[in-house]
């Protein structure tokens, strides 16, 4: 066989076309696009939109131009309308989120730790989960009146479910080997919970908290359907009723930005609390 290969070798040396270089065939996996591409997309769409609005192909009532939205937004900022509404909404989201998150984590942990609680309550929670909160608005008013309470409740419910489900899942997904290790080293029941189950479930709990952040903003609009004079949600509803679409879009823009901010804050907190991730 050495012979065979040597033969071929000689042929290739003399004829040369017999030499084939290996090329990287997965180079396409590594291709990169320039950084400006991502800015380009957003800018492009904004320009197109502005252009369409300027030449009045689409009437401004139907789709206000970005510049008009910004101008309206700026004006609403200077009159203090925006700040006022944002503060009110932040208070509602903050309270509702806090209630929902704490309740979700506590009940999630109970579900995770105590099998009886788990068996009894989990089916109940899963069957209430998919009910659209907006369908229950009239009942919320009946039950909780028209003050801040029903608003907190709606937001808290939207936060509660993802948090409780993730907390529960986090507790259940703890690697049994870690539990076994802890027990072998002498940990007792509550020590196992505090030193193993809780920290192990934290990343999953955080994922729930992030999901919940999105939900809390979605439900803000529903919550502020109930007799709210202030708040970003009620502002959106108000301008929607008046068909002042430019101002409506300002509200929508604020919601998006709040969502972004909320998400970033949670990510920052996660990095602080879970340095070992």
């Amino acid at each position: 066989m050495e012979q065979g290969s040597t033969n071929v070798n000689i042929v290739s040396r003399t004829v040369q076309p017999q030499r084939q270089t290996i090329r990287n065939r997965v180079a396409f996996l590594e291709k990169r696009t320039p950084v400006y591409a991502s800015v380009l997309g957003v800018l492009g769409i904004l320009t197109l939109w502005e252009g369409l609005a300027r030449i009045q192909v689409i009437p401004p009532l139907f789709l206000p131009s970005p510049s008009a939205i910004l101008a309206a937004g700026w004006q609403m900022v200077t009159t203090g309308e925006v700040t006022d509404n944002i503060l009110t909404s932040l208070m509602r989201i903050g309270t509702g989120y806090a209630i929902g998150a704490v309740a979700g984590i506590v009940i999630g942990l109970l579900l995770g730790f105590f099998r009886w609680v788990d068996s009894v309550l989990t089916p109940v929670i899963y069957s209430i989960y998919p009910i659209p909160k907006i369908a229950l608005l009239p009942l919320f008013i009946l039950w909780l009146g028209i003050g801040e309470l029903p608003k907190f409740t709606i937001i808290a419910l939207g936060v509660f479910f993802p948090v409780v489900i993730n907390t529960y899942a986090g507790v259940k997904q703890v690697d049994p080997i870690l539990l076994k290790a802890a027990v072998t080293f002498g940990s007792k029941y509550f020590s196992v919970i505090r030193k193993v189950i809780l920290p192990a479930a934290l990343p999953t709990i955080f994922a729930g908290l992030k999901l919940a952040a999105g939900n809390s903003l979605l439900l803000l609009v529903s919550a502020e359907m109930i007799a709210a004079e202030k708040g970003v949600g009620s502002m959106i509803l108000h301008y929607g009723n008046l068909m002042m679409t430019t101002n409506l879009m300002v509200g929508v823009l604020i919601l998006s930005m709040l969502g972004l901010l909320f998400n970033r804050s949670l990510e920052w907190l996660e990095r602080k609390l879970l340095p070992w991730k």
Binding site: P138, I141, I146, M225, A227, E229, N241, M243
Partner: protein, 338 residues
């Protein structure tokens, strides 16, 4: 006039058994749920001009977006008083055991006073109610005053509520937009939106509701909690009556069968403008009718209940005595005189 009223009030002999009347009444806080409608003018006036304060009532206005929410709020005693729309949900809550009390008129359709209308898109070919058969009607919701009025008008013209395609838009602005966008054949609109539709040129009136039917469409409603404080209730009604008459005399008086501007007209106009956020000249075109003595049309209430029951929009029929209490009004009227 203010001080005179006050004196009249403190000297009021009607109910000597009530201790609150003998000593100077302590201030009571009262929450009032209402929408930004012109028909709440008496309340705006009483509030703005301090008539409530004069009665030692510390009234807090709670603004709502939906008539339904106003009714629910008063039914559950979340607020003390509501400027309520008499809609199916109102009767339903009572039928299902909720206690609340209709105490006074707060707006009705009365011939000669244009307030709500059937509005057509501006290029609509229809000229009569009869032609609306099988057409699409924009309303806020089923069981609302919109729905009720149109259905009753249809019945008066030999049709039934099944003869049009109901299109619930879930909001007043939705109804206006549906007509504006010619997405429906007609719709129910109240002032000041009727004026706006005509002025902006996208709509025209087919007929005014008050030309077709009588309809007690809204009322002052007390929660069961509030009405238990009989003294405060009467005092509230006194202030209300004062506002109501102030409004009536300014805006609803007629001379030679035609509406004429009464005393304080400009002031009343300003107040309404302030509280509804609508432009003056739009407000000016039409004022909803309210009985000068605040007497609700009990017969019409009975008719409404019968109709809703027939249409299966309320869970069971009910007696007006269960929820109408005019004794308070009578007391207040006695004190207020004419």
């Amino acid at each position: 006039g203010k001080s005179a009223e006050k004196q009249g009030n403190s000297a009021e002999p009607a109910n000597p058994s009530e201790p609150a009347n003998t000593k100077p009444a302590e201030s009571k806080s009262v929450s009032l749920a209402l929408l930004k409608f012109t028909s709440n003018a008496p309340l705006f006036i009483a509030y703005e001009k301090g008539f409530f304060k004069d009665e030692h009532l510390d009234v807090e206005l709670k603004w709502f977006d939906s008539a339904n929410a106003v009714n629910v709020a008063v039914a559950s005693s979340s607020v003390d008083i509501a400027a309520a729309g008499l809609t199916a949900d109102f009767y339903n809550m009572i039928a299902q055991g909720q206690k609340m009390f209709l105490v006074a008129d707060k707006g009705r359709e009365e011939k000669g006073y244009a307030y709500s209308a059937l509005v057509l898109p501006n290029d609509s070919p229809y000229k009569s109610v009869e032609e609306l058969k099988g057409k699409k009607a924009a309303i806020t919701t089923i069981g609302s005053t919109n729905h009720y009025s149109i259905a009753r008008i249809l019945e008066n013209h030999g049709m039934s509520s099944k003869d049009v395609q109901w299109t619930p838009m879930n909001s007043v602005s939705g109804v206006v937009d549906a007509i504006k966008g010619k997405r429906v054949d007609f719709g129910f609109i109240s002032e000041p939106n009727v004026t706006k539709a005509v002025d902006e040129g996208f709509g025209k009136t087919l007929t005014w509701i008050s030309d077709e039917i009588k309809f007690q469409s809204s009322a002052l409603v007390f929660s069961s909690k509030f009405i238990s404080d009989r003294d405060a209730s009467v005092r509230f009604l006194k202030a209300y009556l004062k506002g109501l008459r102030y409004y009536y005399d300014a805006a609803l008086t007629k001379k030679d069968g035609k509406l004429a501007q009464g005393p304080n007209f400009d002031e009343v106009l300003k107040i309404i403008t302030k509280y509804t956020g609508q432009p003056e000249d739009v407000i000016k075109k039409s004022f909803p009718f309210i009985d000068r003595n605040g007497k609700p049309d009990i017969d019409d209430l009975k008719e409404q209940i019968a109709w809703y029951a027939k249409e299966k929009l309320i869970v069971k029929t009910l007696e007006v005595d269960d929820f109408v209490d005019t004794t308070l009004l009578d007391e207040a009227l006695k004190a207020a005189g004419n």
